[in-house]
């Protein structure tokens, strides 16, 4: 197990190299550069070509592609992630500023959707065909098919604008206020994100549970004279757990990378919002950093999935 984890961690390094190069190349191939985005088109017509190239030189944009990539990667290896081209703020500051906001929402969504998704899914499966099961199925379908932004906007309309129970958006900076002041800001985005995920987890755990309950070992357990709760949970749910864990694991990277839509709708200052702005402005050091971070999150999530499945399913061997 340990050697497996170490080996997987070692693969992460070359992967990050390759991917950083590809993202850099992608940015290079898009028309325009950071300077052309920084300057208002109206102003641009009045600025001389010399002034433009001076600006480019100041930002190091006049060097060749490979040269720039080399400088960038050497700096990164020394722990210097550079400054945002747009605001001049150190990239590490931006990431460490934005990441907690995103992780906060992700944490709420994961915990809530895992607990409630599994509970509802298992309950649905145990009551298969009942009114509760059918209504939950309909709700689950709606939850999956209604787009996040629509759901988010409706929630805002009802709870923030009409009832005025909760703030419209944004997030108070940590440290400035107590957690109790910040909590109301988290409720709506956290709730909407969690609810969308709960629908998926519920549908998935229902079908995993039904599959598990139809297996032969359930009949064996019954033939042993075990009580129903033990058959359903110790035998049935335990086996249904593996696919559910995989599903939740697959959600991790998107959550850590920031749920762009939710962050936009609720003006949540998370990493996803920042990424969109950076790509639009071709702020390449920032794009690079966030992209690398997301890739890292994906690789870590898949490692976590593998380790967790090996822990819950003895048939899975890690080597």
């Amino acid at each position: 197990m340990l050697t497996f984890i170490i080996r997987r961690l070692l693969i992460v390094v070359p992967m990050l190299f390759v991917i950083s190069f590809l993202v850099y190349l992608g940015l290079e191939l898009t028309p325009g550069d950071a300077v052309s985005h920084m300057i208002d088109p109206e102003v641009a017509s009045r600025i001389s070509a010399e002034q433009l190239s001076e600006m480019r030189e100041a930002l190091g944009l006049n060097k060749s592609f490979l040269e720039r990539y080399y400088i960038w990667i050497v700096n990164v290896l020394q722990g210097d992630f550079g400054h945002s081209l747009a605001g001049g703020v150190p990239i590490s500051d931006i990431v460490f500023d934005r990441l907690p906001a995103t992780l906060e929402l992700s944490f709420i969504a994961i915990v809530f959707s895992t607990i409630f998704g599994c509970l509802l899914g298992v309950f649905s499966a145990l009551k298969k065909g009942s009114l509760t099961d059918n209504s939950l199925s309909v709700v689950g379908m709606l939850g999956i098919s209604i787009p996040e932004f629509f759901f988010g906007l409706v929630a805002l309309l009802i709870f923030a604008l009409n009832l005025q129970w909760l703030p419209i958006g944004g997030r108070l900076l940590p440290g400035y206020e107590t957690i109790w002041d910040r909590l109301p800001h988290m409720v709506l985005p956290g709730f909407v994100l969690a609810l969308m995920m709960t629908a998926g987890v519920m549908r998935y755990s229902r079908s995993a549970m039904l599959d598990s309950l139809s297996r032969d070992f359930i009949k064996t357990a019954r033939a042993k004279g075990l009580p129903e709760w033990r058959i359903n949970f110790i035998h049935g749910f335990r086996v249904a757990l593996t696919p559910v864990i995989v599903l939740i694991g697959f959600r991790l990277p998107t959550l850590i990378g920031g749920s762009v839509i939710i962050e936009q709708v609720f003006q949540w200052p998370g990493i996803g919002n920042e990424f969109i702005a950076a790509v639009r402005g071709q702020d390449y050091p920032l794009v690079m950093m966030i992209a690398l971070f997301s890739v890292f999150a994906v690789l870590m999530a898949s490692l976590i999935i593998d380790v967790l499945t090996a822990l819950v399913d003895p048939r899975v061997r890690l080597d």
């Binding site: 032969d216 033939a223 009580p227 003895p314 048939r315």
Partner: protein
Amino acid sequence: MTSDIALSVKDLKTYFYTNNRCNKAINGVSFDIRRGKTLCIVGESGCGKSVTASTIMQLLPTLSRIEAGSITYHAERGDIRIDQLARNGAEIRKIRGAEIAMIFQDPMTALNPVYTIGFQIEESLKYHTDLSLKEIKKKAIDLLRDMGIPMPEKRVDEYPHQFSGGMRQRAMIAMAMSCNPKILIADEPTTALDVTIQAQIFKLMDKLKAEHDTAIMLITHDMGVVAELADEVAVMYMGNIVEAGSVDDVLRSPKHPYTRALLDSIPVLGQGKKQAIKAIKGATPDPYERPNGCSFAPRCDFATKECDVMPDEEYISKSHRIMCANYKAVS
């Protein structure tokens, strides 16, 4: 109770209700299982053997129910009408696994893949005995050793996927035998295993029968197995026992045309390729559209008008009974 009957089934009918249609899977079946004896139930696929076993254990799926008849378990504490117990109620749970145990056809899927063999054997013991955890662990190891599994101390902590098919079936038998059941129901326990393993498993079951006086109900479609192991035989066809009796009765002087056809359709080892194997003509009727009379009549060479009504069970000797209007004409 001085009789040696462990369980008696009388006129049992189990119907399945699927898509608003009724499948009379078991349509009036009677038999006794005796202590220290093996009753073999044979018959073609789909004739209701597994359903009979599930009915006795009250393990039927929700879409089916016991329509009529009785299942009486002659326990030491008095007779128990299993058919009248609540499906997964406390009373049937006390009997399952402890007094009536079951072994299933496919040992590959009958064990839970995420728990160790030991855990699964110990589970039964925890629920049905007062032994301490330490004693339970020891008993699980002893059981595996009795079943001929080498290094049981180590094997007990392994998972089903680390066992071969034969070993898994032994583990299943260990599990079934863990609480010394009075009755063991084995539903084609060796169909998924190769022939040498099959012989070992049967030897094991025979030993258990002799040592613990267990009553065994063995479901099979292998006539060789019947000849080897059975004390009594019941031949099933489309939900009825068409012929039943001691092994000698049924194998040496079969009276029902179906039994004869079944025996004729078995190749005999050593007779070479030229022997005439007679497959039974036709196919089993649609279970939803069963004939009104004898269900074998459409495939029977001896069928007459009398076969259009369901024949009664008739005893031709004290132990030998048959359901055929024309059995006298057959011999």
